[in-house]
């Protein structure tokens, strides 16, 4: 109970440890999550995705600066890949936004993917709930640098921002089918570079082909330029923050917010069922040594995995 209270009060140590425990699968953390869940749903969750080096972290840093001027608070989750060989990771997105680290209205946490393939980590969904419960007005999630189909971010955000940069040539063609479909807002970053006009046209062309948009929201395309030209960079950031707020308003006005939240709810239920039904069975099989015996059978071709799985299902889930 004490932990729940501390999370709701926004205690940084408690929150960061709780996220840690959820990543590590500590059972007590899940109990805390049950209590916190009812306090969630207030934050506007914004996802940033795009290819590596597109400028996601830099844009988030600049966005935090603008948002903080209005007095609103921000929680940020930054995802970087884990090594498939050692499980280690370099989490380096934070470098771009270290200047906010002593601001009590900003909480920044880096997460490693730990084998998840959708551009996020498995713990991100729950970490969003925690930052929401601790009272952050905005929760910003940055995906790993994405290519074509790391679209998991749509299950967790109210507003998805796809950051594209000029000069990637054919990659625009390649990403047409995946990532570009999930954008609520496009940002063309490094728009002072050659090819920005062409990229803008490509995106416009793609949007022109769409058969209408839910709630009449045609994803706007915002150009952000050289961050060292501070005046014009700031202006484009103000435009971005305004557009993000307008998008949220559009979702609310058109009763579309529920659809987004339902996506996340379905996903969370699926995951919860997985850990409530499958995980205990797997644990039992491993602990009793049955898993090894079955693996041997499959290895020796004395049984096939499909029959074995059906037998296990019958044994543990009699109702099925």
């Amino acid at each position: 109970m004490e932990i729940t209270k501390k999370v709701l009060e926004g205690n940084v140590r408690t929150v960061s440890r709780l996220i840690r425990n959820l990543e590590d699968g500590v059972p007590e953390a899940r109990d805390t999550l049950k209590k916190i869940f009812h306090h969630t749903g207030k934050a506007h969750v914004i996802g940033f995705t795009g290819s590596p080096g597109a400028g996601k972290s830099t844009l988030i840093d600049a966005m935090i600066t603008e948002v903080r001027k209005t007095g609103k608070t921000v929680g940020v989750l930054l995802v970087d890949p884990s090594s498939p060989f050692t499980g280690g990771a370099i989490l380096g997105d934070r470098i771009r936004m270290q200047r906010h680290s002593t601001d009590p209205g900003v909480f920044v946490r880096s997460l490693a993917t730990r084998g998840a393939l959708g551009g996020l980590s498995k713990a991100v969904g729950n970490a969003i709930h925690i930052l929401d419960a601790m009272g952050k007005d905005y929760v910003i999630v940055e995906t790993v640098g994405t290519g074509q189909q790391e679209v998991e971010i749509i299950n967790h955000s109210h507003t998805v921002i796809v950051v594209a940069i000029p000069g990637m040539g054919d990659e625009i063609q390649a990403i047409k089918a995946g990532i570009l479909e999930i954008a609520d807002i496009f940002v063309i970053n490094k728009a002072d570079r050659d090819g920005a006009g062409k990229l803008y046209q490509e995106l416009m062309y793609m949007l022109n082909m769409a058969d209408g948009f839910p709630g009449g929201w045609r994803p706007p395309i915002i150009k952000t330029e050289n961050m060292f030209d501070t005046d014009s960079f700031r202006k484009s950031l103000i435009e971005l923050v305004d557009t993000i707020d307008q998008h949220y308003k559009n979702l609310v006005d058109n009763n579309l917010l529920g659809n987004r939240i339902r996506r996340k709810a379905t996903l969370e239920l699926t995951e919860a069922l997985h850990s409530a039904i499958l995980d205990p069975v797997l644990t039992k099989l491993v602990e009793s040594g049955e898993m090894t015996q079955m693996a041997d059978k499959v290895l020796n071709k004395t049984a096939d995995p499909y029959t074995l799985a059906e037998e296990i299902a019958k044994k543990y889930l009699r109702e099925l």
Binding site: V12, R13, I19, R20, D24, S82, S83, G88, L91, Q98
Partner: protein, 136 residues
């Protein structure tokens, strides 16, 4: 239950911009299987301590080549303690004269590593001395 994965932060306090060593170490920690947060150059002790708490790291490695370690390392430990994070173990490295080691240990550093020490020995030291935090 999954095994606790060690989280470590590599940080450079002060105005020293020689970060090759810090980056080599970050890479070495990644290869040792740790989740490694690197915060870049030119950080104040306050910024580093706040980041270490938000990231819930088990160990914080400070790097300094400019000779300012006598002030910056103890100051960072102090800021961590002010945030109630005295369970985060602090180690340091860089161009540090042996005569300063005791001063740093007295300030609360758990280890000091200088040029000539093998990366494997640093990882071995961490394996033996840093236990992932498991309290609530």
């Amino acid at each position: 239950m999954a095994k606790k994965r060690l989280r470590i932060m590599v940080a450079k306090p002060g105005l020293d911009g020689h970060d090759r060593g810090a980056r080599v170490l970050a890479r070495c920690f990644r290869d040792a299987g740790y989740e490694t947060i690197y915060t870049g150059c030119h950080q104040t002790p306050e910024e580093i301590a706040a980041a270490a708490v938000q990231e819930d790291v088990d160990c914080l490695g400070l790097s300094c080549m400019s000779g300012a370690h006598r002030f910056l390392f103890p100051e960072t430990v102090k800021k961590l303690r002010e945030l109630g994070a005295d369970d985060i173990q602090v180690i340091g490295g860089g161009i540090i004269p042996p005569a300063d080691f005791q001063l740093l240990y007295d300030a609360g550093l758990k280890g000091v590593f200088v040029p000539g020490i093998a990366l494997d020995d640093i990882v071995k030291w961490i394996e033996e001395n840093i236990v992932p935090n498991i309290k609530d």
